[in-house]
Symmetry: C2
Subunit: 343 residues, 2 copies
DNA sequence: ATGGTGCCTGAAACCGGTTTCTGTTAACCG
DNA sequence: CGGTTAACAGAAACCGGTTTCAGGCACCAT
């Protein structure tokens, strides 16, 4: 019944028609008489024929698949990313290939290899080298997801720097804090780099002396705990506020601070970035910046799908707006207003 | 240069050889004289030829791809799952297709459609209907990931029930607690169903009256916060302990409890399942069950890859052991010993 | 009756590889 | 020197679809 070994020619033979007719019926293209159509559909039904994807893809010179490349899969950010991408790709009848370059040394090769199996690729910013990105773009449409694009490679990202400037200004001006520490590695990803730039920019705008060097760590919760150890560990004075490059770090710092008996925000202010689900749930809830991660990835998928259909035109990049979310971890009372940073 | 429009026949023409020879050289199969090889390699190099994946796959009747199907992407569990699967597939030169059936009504169709693009599929338990699973298994090798297998479909899973029995017994016997509530929906996934069974079994083993009905909720952190609201909200007495179906729920309950001014474990005992990264970081650290999620998914990938190479033989399922991790949220002092539940 | 016009249909070419099978050549043997 | 064999190259078939193109046929107007 559901045997997948049945081919067009077989169905054609059994229905007593040509393969062209079978193809026409199974695709609904061209003109086919009622009688022929009936015979073919009957045979298709009876033998459970379904056209082979490879044959079809080869003829159409299109894979019906999109690729998504990211460094590793940590935390809520990437799950949102994948889901956003997938939610846009699947309805367009494109399957989703994923590749975590994560710790593999030959990842550039693998990205290039993936490019031969898909119609387009989204690469998370900072994942692969620029030369590889360019070579990739020669083969298939590419967009950079959360990062900076190139001449020929559009990017979709959020307004990281302005958002971080808004958040930092809030701490410096509205709360009168001075001794802030930025946690996150600006060299680790374009996102963090931009956030660090936005952080510095707030100081610059207010004619303050530049901030201290960032505490360069990875982006996971246990790195935040590590940050708390370093910053609150004893030697040297603790900062007034810890501005984290994402919510996971902030959550880790929060755990570390509370575990040391500090009160947040009274003894230490902590802020995040992303507005992960947990950010609103912890106590005190986290002041952070909401970014539309799902929408970002969906936009990337759409961009690629368009580029596949209309090759040649290199679309512009997209910058999505974020929203500054004021909660209690910055020292604001419960129920403060929130404000967007605008587009 | 890197033009991907170059075909075997073109290279053959340019090198003045036959396509067969080009194919032999590019695959390293068969016998080719030094002179021919040199000419071919030269042309390949010069025109940047790389064999098309579709043509190759069609001829080989193999996709070089594996599918991974899960309901939705929430929390650390699924990121681990994907990474484990991917880490095993990619070195075997198989790309990874993902599909979140998540909220789409026609997901069964999409799973069947995916089956036509891959050599094998891993399906997370409880994701698709049994009839669909059976039809899927007629097409490609399938394994169920974290769930129960069928006659023809092997499963890889962990010893959920014994592990939960061990944990529950610990609360009932070592801590003398009686009033436990299980949080999680046994109908939601095979994993939860088995954990609930293990929970009940501990009562049974000790000749206690059966526990109260489970609090049926989804598996995310905010569901845990919800659980805390329901259980600690005022009307009706609060339980002594909340046994959660996974760590995310437990973390949510913890946040909710602490937010209400309760002390954990003095006023309320909370336990989880999974040993997510955050479980050890919160205060108090979570007593839970560690399960080797990555290894589980890697095992599934291996099983499928083997089934692809040696079709016909239906391999046995695999049950991986878990480890009971005693931390402080159950009431044990810091630094208690931990014990595995064995295989 | 003749020529023109649409509508259907199927043979064959094509997508881009791999593989079998046949034939040539050179080396080796007695 | 004739015969066997191994090494190598290429033509053609194949994988499973789609699409072009030419032809058959019915119908209509002249």
């Amino acid at each position: 019944m559901g045997n997948s070994r049945v081919t067009v020619r077989e169905i054609a033979r059994l229905a007593g028609v040509s393969v062209a007719t079978v193809s026409r019926v199974s695709n609904g293209t061209g003109q086919v008489s009622e009688e022929m159509r009936r015979r073919v559909l009957e045979a298709i039904e009876k033998y459970g024929y379904r056209p082979d994807h490879l044959g079809r893809a080869l003829a159409a010179r299109r894979h019906g698949a999109l690729g998504l490349v990211f460094p590793g899969l940590s935390g809520p950010y990437f799950t949102e990313l994948i889901q956003g991408f997938e939610s846009e790709a699947v309805p367009a009848r494109a399957s989703v290939h994923i590749l975590c370059t994560h710790l593999r040394e030959d990842s550039d090769d693998q990205v290039l290899e993936m490019a031969r199996r898909v119609d387009g690729v989204a690469v998370v910013g900072g994942t692969i080298s620029e030369p590889t990105l360019l070579r990739l773009a020669e083969t298939v449409p590419v967009v950079v997801l959360a990062g900076r694009g190139l001449e020929t490679v559009p990017a979709v990202s959020v307004d990281n720097a302005p958002a971080m400037t808004t958040l930092t200004r809030h701490l410096l001006v509205d709360h009168g804090l001075r001794d802030l520490v930025f946690v996150g590695n600006p060299d680790g990803s374009p996102d963090v780099s931009e956030r660090w730039a936005g952080f510095q920019n707030a100081y610059h705008e207010l004619d303050l002396a530049p901030p201290t060097e960032p505490l360069r760590l990875a982006m996971q919760q246990h790195d935040g705990v590590l940050a708390a150890e370093r910053l609150l560990g004893g030697d040297g004075p603790a900062p007034q506020a810890v501005v984290c490059a994402n919510d996971e770090l902030a959550l880790g710092v929060l755990v570390g601070a509370l575990g040391r008996g500090l009160r947040v925000p009274e003894d230490l202010v902590i802020t995040g970035f992303d507005d992960a689900p947990m950010a609103a749930l912890v106590s005190p809830p986290l002041t952070t910046v909401r970014q539309p991660v799902r929408e970002l990835a969906a936009e990337a998928a759409r961009l690629i799908l368009n580029a596949v259909d209309a090759p040649g035109v290199a679309p512009d990049g997209i910058v999505l707006p974020t929203e500054f979310v004021v909660r209690r971890s910055c020292g604001c009372p419960a129920g403060s207003p929130t404000g967007g940073t605008g587009k």
